[in-house]
Structure formats: C-alpha cells, structure tokens
C-alpha cells in the first residue's frame, strides 16, 4: 500500500518539538523534519532513536588511506632510485612524515566531503514533494509518511500541536 504524506508547517521550535513527540507517542516513526538551521533540541529528539552519523567512518578510512599513501609513495619512489641526497639514507622517515601528514588531511577531508554528499543524498535532482521554500527562511516542517487511512489523524495531531498550515 502506498504511503500518504502529511506536512505540517510550524513557526516555532517548541511547537515543532511537541508535534514530533506526540507523533512518536502515537507510533508514527517515519518523520522528515525540515529546519532552516540545525536546532540542537530537535536534533536530540529525532536522533536519540537513530544510529550515529557514519561520516566519521569515511573520515577515518580516508585519513588512514592518506597516511598509507603518503608513506608508500615516498618510500617506494625513494627505493626506485636509491640516491643519497643531503647525506641522508634514501628512506629517511622524518621528511616523509610531512608528506604522510598532508595526505592524511587531504584524503580525510575529501572523504568527509564525499560522506556529506552520499549520506545526505546530495545532489538531489528533484525536489521532495513535502519541501517548502519557507524552510530555508524561518519555518519548520514535519512531514509524516503514514497509511492513507491514518492521514486524517496525523493532520489533526499536527494542527493540535500548533501547525500554521497542514498539507496533504
């Protein structure tokens, strides 16, 4: 059965929070919350039931790859030409630490960027049906995906919580 979506538009942080809590209490778990800025209270309310963001995993894998690449590149290429420069052994670790460090940051940063895009589903070609341009101004949105027969209940709930506007 296809799900219906109901959108409530709110003007305040506290009313948005109340709506989220009440929806959760009634068993509606498939929520999308739109906010103009990240709001800590709302984030806590939604996130305490969800797993932590996986962005850090990307960062650490990127960073470690960078370190490994930096040391591999410097050591391997120095061995290709075993030339003594500056009176130092071809494989001298201290100067290679700099390359290893820079590539750690570079790969770690690029992997983080990739994670923000991949996990945040960016770029989006088509706008979500429940999006409203006011969500980048000063309005909050709570979109609920629910079975069509319960849409009426959700609408009533959103209005009761203080939604300025409810769309189905």
């Amino acid at each position: 059965m296809a799900l219906a979506s109901v959108l409530g538009i709110f003007a305040h942080v506290d009313t948005t929070l109340q709506a989220i809590r009440e929806l959760r209490a009634k068993g509606f778990a498939d929520l999308t919350v739109y906010t103009p800025v990240p709001v800590e209270e709302i984030e806590e309310e939604i996130e305490h039931v969800r797993p932590l963001s996986k962005v850090r995993l990307f960062t650490v894998v990127g960073g470690v790859t960078g370190t490994a690449t930096g040391f591999f590149l410097t050591i391997w290429s120095s061995l290709k030409w075993g030339l003594v420069t500056g009176g130092k052994d071809p494989v001298s670790i201290p100067p290679f630490v700099i390359i290893g460090f820079e590539l750690t940051i570079l790969f770690g940063g690029l992997a983080t960027l990739l994670a923000v895009f991949l996990l945040g589903r960016l770029p989006r070609i088509r706008q979500s049906a429940t999006y409203d341009p006011r969500f980048t101004l000063d309005r909050f949105g709570v979109a609920v995906a629910c079975p069509p027969d319960r849409a009426q209940t959700v609408s009533a709930l959103l209005s009761a919580a203080g939604a300025e506007e409810v769309r189905r």
Binding site: D14, T35, P38, T74, I98, I105, G109, S128
Partner: protein, 453 residues
C-alpha cells in the same frame, strides 16, 4: 543609506533579506572599482607576459638574491589565508559565537589568498609550463620528486591547504545558497539551484552535514598550523644565516594570523558600511579581532627579540653579522619599518576606544600588512644579500616588471573577492541565524539563545 541598528531585535527573515540585498545588481561605484582593479590586473598580466618573453632577468633576479619579491609576496599571501581558516575551523571548535558573522568573508579571503599565493611559485620558477614536474606522476624514466626537499613539502602543503579550504568553503555555502535559491527567480534561481545541489535542510541532511563540518574543522586545525610551518621550513632547512632557526615555524604561524586578521578587517569594515551590516558585525566583533591582532603582535615582538638574542647568544659570527647588516646597512629602513608597523603601531589597540574605532582599525590594519610584507622581505632579501662570504654580498633592485606583477597580484585577489561578494552570500545566513534567539511560542525561563554554539 540608513546606518545603524534597527529599533527591534533582528529576526531570521531579516538575515535572509539582508543577505539577498547583497546579491542584487550593484551600482556604479562598484563597477568603477572593478574597472580600476581589472586594469591593474591587466597591467600585471602584461608584465608577466613580458617576463616570460624576455626571461627572468626582467624580474631583477641576479645573485645573490635569486629569491626576491616573488617569494616574499608568496609567503605574504599564504599568511593572509591563515586568519580565514583560524576563524572558520579553530574558532568553530572553540564555539566562539562572534565568528559567525565574519567567517564567510574570511573563508573567501583564505581561498582567494591561497589562489594568489599559488601563482608566485609559478611566476618565480620562470618556465612555469614545467611546474607539473613538482608533482609525483608515473613517467617512463622512473623520475620522482625528491621528497627530502622542503620545496616538495611546500607543494603538498599548499595544494592540500587550497583543496581543504575550498571544500570547507563549499560545504558552508550549500545551505546558504539554497536559501537564496528559494527566494530568487529566473536564471538566478536556476544557477543557485545547481550550486545548492538540491539542499532542503531535512533532518538527515543536517545530521551528516553537521558531523562532516565538525570533522572538517578538526582536520583543518592541524593543517593551518602545519602549512605555514612547512613554508617556514623552506627557509629554516637552509644554512643561510638568519634562516637556519628552529624558531621559524611558530614565528611564521603567528605572523600569518596577525596579518590575516588585519586583512579580514580591511575587507569586512567596508562590507559592513556598504551592505549596512551593522546589526551583524558589531563593535564586539571589531573588539575581538583587534584583541587578536594585539596578542599576535606582542607574540611577534617576542619572536623578533628572540631572533636578535639567539643571533647574539649563539656566538656565531655569521648570525651576528647578518642581524647587524639588516639593522644598519642598506636595508635598515625596511628592518625598522617592520618593527614600527608590527611591534609599535598595534600597541594602540591596548585602548578600548581604538579597538572599536573603524578609522584607527583601518589604519592599523594597513600598516600591519605593510609591516608583514616587509617582515618576509627582511628575511629573504637582506638575508640572502649578506651570507658567509663578502664576495657574494649584494643589493637587490626591484624592476618595473616584478613590481607590476606584485601589484597585479593584489588586483587578482580583489577582483576575486569583489566578484564573490556580489554573487554569493558573503554573510553566513545559517550560522548567523543559529546564534540569534530561536523562535519560541511559549517563552522559557531565562533567555534562550539557540543551540549549536
């Protein structure tokens, strides 16, 4: 133009409006400035073309000063970039709220300053079409860069710094461009829509965005400290008297932050005036930046003193002779100008009145930039001009070609920056809103100022 604060608290919608104003069609004054900047840039391009055509002699390069004004200006511009990363990454991690209204402009400054700095090794190298030799790439002769050379470290440090600064900058721009997209029409909307990449501000997007932003800040923090340290190794690894010092890394980083904040003030003060951003960039912000300039100036003075002290205390004849020559011989004017601009002038900021007086701040900032340019000049030119043997001593004379290229580099920076502030949000909509009181229907006990910071 109305100047001053509105008679009611700033709302979230005001922030959007105040930023949207800045991306509208600019007036004649703006185009007038752009023409001057573009002509200066053109002069710089002509001078570079002439240098490529005639050879490096046109730049006044002769022994002993084979590194002259180009490397001076390279270090200068890299230094300018540091304040932007400090504001966007380090102050973010410290949760300093005052950073929000200046960080976008500072970050743009970083990206453009590094783009300007990056030109100088190419200009300086002469045959810049072989610049790719510096990067490691597989080739049939199995030739690889010498990874023990500080100049190769520089290539890695600067290109990483540019890449990470651009990434940080773009990530920060996405939600703001989305806000502009939602309130514009026609072609403008389409362009913003492409740049915003369909950002909607949903909980899933914010969750990963916030985590990613924090991690980028954590990566950029050690990076910003490492970049100028690596640049300082270009000097410190050599045996030239006055260069061969373990002081150089912190000395360079501190000087970079010092000059960078001066540049932020030079850029932000006119923006505040012309865009009427008085509600966002307040006296508190100016005071905080002025204090940072003062602190970094005092630290710099300490390093200057250490430099002289170590030269004397080392008992090394060449170190002592180098400092003596800098302070008394043909470049003495540059040496004392540096002391005046970097150590004496910023002392005026001990006064609270001076810290919030825009005229004073502007003059101090310009003098700091001059002083910091001469600091690098004093390290490079007199340093190379007076090393171990009297028969290698010499004086460098600038030429019209290299001076024009350096003036042109400022035009290149300003054309990028002036262009940016009229097409992109140069005040962060999201971050400024975050520190404003969040809209609440039922007031809670105690003033509630948004979360996040």
């Amino acid at each position: 133009m109305s100047v001053g604060l509105p008679d009611r608290p700033v709302t979230w919608a005001d922030v959007n409006k105040d930023v949207e104003r800045t991306v509208s069609m600019p007036g004649n004054l703006y185009f007038g400035w752009m023409c001057i900047v573009a002509l200066t840039l053109f002069a710089g391009i002509v001078a570079w073309t002439y240098q490529i055509y005639t050879g490096m002699g046109a730049a006044g390069k002769r022994t002993p000063q084979m590194w002259a004004m180009y490397i001076t200006t390279f270090v200068f511009w890299i230094g300018i970039g540091h304040a932007g990363t400090l504001i966007s990454a380090v102050l973010y991690l410290f949760r300093a709220k005052w950073r929000t209204s200046i960080y976008r402009a500072a970050e743009a400054m970083t990206v453009f300053a590094v783009m300007t700095a990056g030109l100088f090794p190419l200009i300086h190298a002469g045959r810049m079409w072989f610049a790719y030799w510096l990067t490691p790439y597989p080739n049939q002769r199995y030739l690889w860069p010498n990874f023990k050379s500080p100049l190769v470290w520089d290539v890695f440090a600067i290109s990483t710094y540019l890449t990470i600064s651009v990434v940080f900058f773009i990530v920060g721009l996405i939600p703001d461009v989305a806000a502009l997209r939602d309130r514009s029409t026609g072609v403008k909307k389409k362009i913003f829509a492409v740049i915003a990449m369909g950002w909607e501000g949903s909980d899933v997007q914010w969750k990963h965005y916030r985590r990613g932003y924090g991690l980028l800040a954590a990566l950029a923090t050690p990076l910003v400290l490492s970049v100028h340290s690596v640049v300082s190794f270009d000097f410190a690894m050599a045996l030239v008297p006055g260069w061969h010092s373990t002081l150089f890394a912190p000395f360079f980083v501190d000087g970079a932050i010092f000059s960078g904040f001066a540049m932020v003030l030079i850029l932000v003060l006119p923006m505040r005036y012309y865009f009427n951003w008085y509600p966002y960039i307040t006296d508190k912000h100016l005071d905080a930046m002025a204090k940072l300039i003062l602190v970094t100036s005092l630290v710099l003075t300490y390093f200057y003193t250490c430099e002289v002290f170590t030269a004397w205390y080392s008992g090394d004849h060449f170190e002592r002779a180098s400092v003596f020559a800098k302070a008394t011989k043909q470049y003495a004017w540059a040496y004392w100008l540096m002391y005046f601009c970097n150590s004496v002038v910023p002392l005026v900021l001990f006064s609270k009145k001076a810290r919030i007086n825009t005229v004073v701040l502007y003059i101090v900032s310009i003098l700091v930039l001059i002083g910091m340019w001469f600091e690098r000049f004093n390290i490079i030119v007199p340093g190379l001009g007076h090393d171990f043997y009297p028969y290698t001593w010499g004086t460098y004379y600038p030429t019209i070609t290299d001076s024009t290229i350096i003036v042109g580099s400022f035009a290149w920076f300003f054309i990028l920056f002036l262009g940016f502030i009229r097409v992109m949000p140069s005040l962060s909509i999201v971050e400024v809103k975050e520190v404003l009181p969040h809209p609440l229907k039922h007031a809670v006990h105690g003033a509630h100022h948004g979360g996040g910071h």
